[in-house]
Amino acid sequence: MGVKYNIIHVHQGRMVDEEEDLTLMELSRLSRVSPTGLIEMVEEGILEPSGERVREWRFSFSMVERVRRVTRFQHDLEVNLAGAALALHLLEKIVKLEAMLQRRAP
């Protein structure tokens, strides 16, 4: 009698903030923001790619959500890029502080 095997395909995802494998063009396509727009975000310090020259820039996948968030701020709150960067920075700080508070809760 033969043994029946169930073949299970286990999907192995890529960790979005660990691997830096998006080029400027790929990030542009995924975030629907023009390369020029993305370069402005790098200049503003919102995005920090690895690599020296624009052609060598690599972004992690978590940057897609970050870029979308910034564009949402610009669009919905009618703020400029610096304002969106500030909002992002403060929100990230709040998330950290909330985690700290939660840790201290009995």
Binding site: R14, D17, R32, R68, R72, H75, D76, Q102
Partner: protein
């Protein structure tokens, strides 16, 4: 289809001028924006209404049409020319805001939906499928060692006759070793189906590390509160602590205080940049509930220790 009172949504007077509308919108948008108030479904709903109201009232043409017909507008009443006119003013901000493109039936019957929708299936262009988000709770050990999990979720799928419908789907997923608290993985092509030959969307899975009675996790850093006895703090001690990274012998220096932190470098979650394990000392006093304990505390009184020395009182 319900009539929408855009003025009362913004809480403004029917005669409000453009500056007032803009100011009110910005105040409400800051207050209810889903990025600012995460996990607040009521706020998100309110925000969408606010965006829709502003979309109409900020535009003199649309506002005029709304003022004129809005109150007793019925579906199908739209005049051909009017719709055309609004479609031309499409919002070119592709994938822009949160509320963008998600308007009420009332709005769409009046102004149409053309041009505003970034992700609508009505366009004849190739479109990438929707991205799907899921989250999984895992015990801290799985973040250290990895594991595999089965998840079941509903996702848009393409039926044989080409329609998109929601279907149950089961996936076996590898929990990567070294995933941080809140870390995400991306499964390429496991999202919604693409339109007109476009690629399938991706699936994102967020891993949340379960609450643990002893450990808590922030990103890749792990925090542990270690209870110690007063004499261990005063005299120093070697204490065995079991951590998700394995057993550790901790050296408590003499004269340690409550709240003091020790850092075990690289013993947090083994991410690409490994986190640290922080051990916070917490001195626990033995209760004075029997004669022996009371005697010992009385003996300690002989130390003439004044913890309020700095207050200048005894």
């Amino acid at each position: 289809m319900n009539h929408k009172d855009y003025y009362s949504i913004l809480g403004i007077d029917k005669n409000a001028d453009a500056a007032k509308i803009k100011k009110t919108y910005r105040q409400l948008a800051r207050k209810y924006h889903p990025d600012v108030n995460h996990n607040n479904a009521a706020g998100e709903k309110k925000f969408k209404e606010v965006v829709e109201a502003y979309e109409v009232l900020k535009d003199p043409e649309k506002r005029k049409a709304y003022d004129q017909y809005g109150a007793n507008w019925k579906a199908g009443q739209r005049q051909q020319g009017q719709q055309h006119q609004y479609q031309q003013q499409g919002n070119t901000y592709a994938g822009g805001g949160f509320g963008g493109g998600d308007y009420s039936d009332f709005f769409e019957s009046m102004f149409g939906s053309g041009g505003h929708r970034g992700g609508s299936g009505r366009s004849p262009f190739q479109q990438k499928g929707e991205d799907v988000n899921a989250s999984l709770s895992i015990p801290i050990e799985e973040a250290y060692h990895g594991s595999s999990r089965t998840i079941t979720f509903t996702t848009p799928t393409l039926s044989p006759d080409g329609q998109v419908e929601n279907k149950k789907k089961t996936l076996h997923v590898k929990v990567p070793k070294g995933i941080k608290n809140g870390g995400k993985i991306r499964l390429k092509g496991q999202g919604g189906p693409g339109q007109n030959g476009g690629a399938a969307g991706d699936m994102y899975i967020r891993f949340d590390i379960e609450k643990h009675p002893i450990f808590s996790v922030e990103g890749a850093d792990v925090f542990l509160t270690l209870p110690i006895a007063p004499w261990e703090a005063a005299l120093g001690a070697k204490i065995n602590v079991s951590t998700p990274a394995g057993a550790v012998k901790l050296n408590i220096p003499t004269g340690s205080a409550s709240g003091q932190k020790m850092r075990l470098k690289g013993m947090g979650i083994p991410a690409k940049k490994p986190g640290n394990l922080y051990v916070e000392l917490q001195i626990v006093l033995p209760p004075a509930e029997n004669d022996k304990a009371r005697q010992l505390y009385q003996k300690m009184q002989e130390l003439n220790f004044n913890p309020r020395e700095y207050f200048g009182v005894s």
